[in-house]
């Protein structure tokens, strides 16, 4: 656990970057620091591994004041991922990943074997090991940055706006990859972003900071959407809070009815459309096992009769969800939404509520 106790950072010119910040970062979960520029989120992150030292207050890591630990030693035990990846241009990818193991004195063979393992783990083709950073795309470099941070298996990972310099499609695939990795690794992750949607997608806990370095609210993402503490947080969260919080409810609970005759299907049982007057009209699908209530609602809105088509993983019709069935669930969750169950991370809804494209825009991923 990482604890901030009354931490303040004041620069010589009198600017206060972080003002009396007290919070706890729980072990094994993702805590996101989010806020507008100038809110001190990056400064707060960098005080954990002493890239910046606090002016007053203290930060403890599993009970130990970080100020007592020699900075290089401290940093070797904490993974660090920065915005532009910051890979060493003169080193091959495999040696970039093995940076911290080399520093810790592992023998070269063991360090490289570990690097190769991580290369695959972050979804990169092992053939990239012998390349240099300039030969990789921005998204690939960022994956290498994550692999490098994980190389010595540190319990804590600090990520400073790691995905903000890549395009939205690559960003989404990197986010999904991080969630997948985290479900296996259970690291204590502190993640800094200015993007509230990213914070809500990735965070088990979200700390919203306001300009001047003060904590506005710290809560689970669903709670944040339901009960923003004040106007600042409400404004920062933006519109559609009601719909966005549906992302935290699994569509598993939706009552399904048998597919009616108006739904045309092909010989494999995949939906073709609703029979109306002369032909087939549009429809929307969701997978109750994998999708959220938000995807189910979206699917319903895409059908002229307001009925969402439930499909299985292979796209075959399992039944339909009528609006009344969805409304029942909306009513049941009107007072609040449970925080995301472990392992249930909604994929961003794709067109028609279908599962989103796999990060296909990026080249060089391990054969999938």
């Amino acid at each position: 656990m990482i604890t901030f106790e009354g931490v303040t950072k004041r620069y010589r010119d009198g600017t206060v970057a972080v003002d009396d910040l007290s919070l706890e970062v729980p072990t094994g979960a993702v805590t996101v620091f989010v806020g507008p520029s100038g809110c001190g989120k990056t400064t707060s992150l960098r005080m954990i591994n002493r890239m910046i030292d606090a002016t007053s207050g203290r930060i403890t890591l599993d009970g130990r004041d970080v100020r007592e630990i020699d900075p290089p030693t401290l940093r070797r035990g904490i993974g660090y991922v920065i915005q532009q990846a910051g890979l060493f241009p003169h080193r091959k990818i495999v040696d970039n990943i093995a940076t911290v193991p080399y520093l810790l004195g592992w023998d070269k063979k063991k360090a490289r074997a570990r690097a190769m393992e991580l290369l695959e783990r972050v979804g990169l083709d092992p053939a990239l090991a012998g390349r240099y950073p300039f030969q990789l795309s921005g998204g690939q470099q960022q994956r290498v940055g994550v692999a490098r941070a994980l190389a010595a298996d540190p319990p804590v990972l600090l990520m400073d706006e790691p995905f903000s310099a890549v395009d939205p499609v690559v960003r989404a695939s990197l986010q999904d990859e991080l969630l997948r990795l985290q479900s296996e690794l259970r690291k204590t992750i502190v993640f800094v972003t200015h993007d509230i949607d990213e914070a809500i997608k990735l965070g088990d806990t979200v700390a919203v900071l306001r300009v001047g370095g003060r904590l506005a609210q710290m809560a689970g993402p669903a709670t944040l959407l339901t009960e923003p503490a004040d106007d600042f947080v409400r404004g920062f969260l933006g519109r559609d809070r009601g719909i966005r919080r549906l992302s935290f409810i699994s569509a598993k609970e939706v009552r399904l009815d048998p597919a009616p005759g108006e739904l045309a299907v092909d010989e494999d049982g995949r939906p073709l459309g609703w029979r109306t007057g002369g032909g087939l009209s549009s429809f929307g699908t969701f997978d109750p096992e994998a999708d959220s209530l938000r995807a189910a609602l979206d699917a319903a809105l895409l059908s002229p009769n307001g009925t969402a088509v439930a499909v299985d993983g292979d796209g075959r019709v399992r039944g339909v969800a009528r609006r009344e069935a969805l409304d029942e669930l909306f009513g049941a969750y009107a007072d609040g939404v449970p925080e995301r169950a472990r392992g249930f991370h909604e994929q961003p809804p794709g067109p028609g509520g279908e599962s989103p494209p796999e990060g296909g825009a990026e080249t060089g991923r391990a054969g999938s």
Binding site: M51, I82, Q84, F88, P89, R131, Y132
Partner: protein, 228 residues
């Protein structure tokens, strides 16, 4: 052309204390000594100043001052001060000439490394010294080598002035040739100095290939080499 044939075709020019091999060796000796002294002083100093950021003004001031000094004038001054007979009068001006390009390029190379990269290096847990030697220096290496190459070429070309104060080297062919109006010797000497400068250039290009990581070569040179 006839002069060239006359100079290089004369077997007398290829042996003895006045022969091309002897003069070439003398020339290389002054040059190498001056170059090495300059490199030993300027490379570490440039790295240190680039890394710590302290003393940057020193780089600028000394570089400009040294550039403004006329080599020949300095040579005469040093000879007047300490007299002829030793190699020092030649070495001092050559070292003074060689230090600025090495110092400036090394400093600029190290200081110019991307701040994000420096940040990442510290963030991974490298210590100051490791950041300098494992990250900043390899990334700055193309510029450091550029400085060394410029210095070496200047030294080799300028070492010709040793002949003015009675020392050997390829300058002898030029100075003596002028004195005796043996123009084949003047031209031959000049050609030898030029060829030597080109050889130095070539040697540094090869060194570059050998020690600079393909990951930090200038973009234009990268493609063929790094894509394997």
């Amino acid at each position: 052309m006839n002069w060239l044939v006359g100079f290089f075709g004369d077997s007398a020019n290829w042996s003895g204390p006045d022969g091309i091999p002897t003069r070439l060796l003398e020339h290389l000796e002054f040059s190498a000594a001056a170059f090495l002294i300059a490199a030993v002083v300027a490379v570490p100093l440039g790295m240190l100043i680039g890394h710590t950021g302290r003393g940057a003004l020193l780089v600028v001031v000394s570089a400009n001052a040294a550039r403004a000094l006329p080599t020949l004038g300095l040579l005469v001054l040093v000879v007047l001060l300490i007299g002829v007979g030793t190699v020092l009068p030649v070495l001092i001006p050559l070292v003074v000439l060689a230090v600025p390009p090495i110092l400036v390029n090394t400093y600029e190379g190290v200081r110019g490394v991307d701040a994000d990269l420096r940040d990442a290096a510290y963030g991974m847990g490298l210590r100051g010294r490791q950041v300098l030697f494992q990250t900043l220096t390899p990334v700055a290496l193309p510029l450091i080598l550029l400085g060394l190459r410029l210095a070496a070429i200047q030294v080799v070309s300028t070492a010709t002035v040793a002949a003015f104060v009675g020392l050997g080297g390829l300058g002898r062919f030029i100075i003596d040739g002028l004195a005796t109006k043996t123009y084949s010797s003047v031209i031959g000497g000049a050609v030898l100095v030029a060829a030597l400068a080109l050889a130095v250039q070539l040697a540094f290009t090869l060194l570059d290939r050998l020690v600079v990581s393909p990951g930090v070569r200038p973009r234009a040179e990268r493609g063929a080499d790094a894509a394997r």
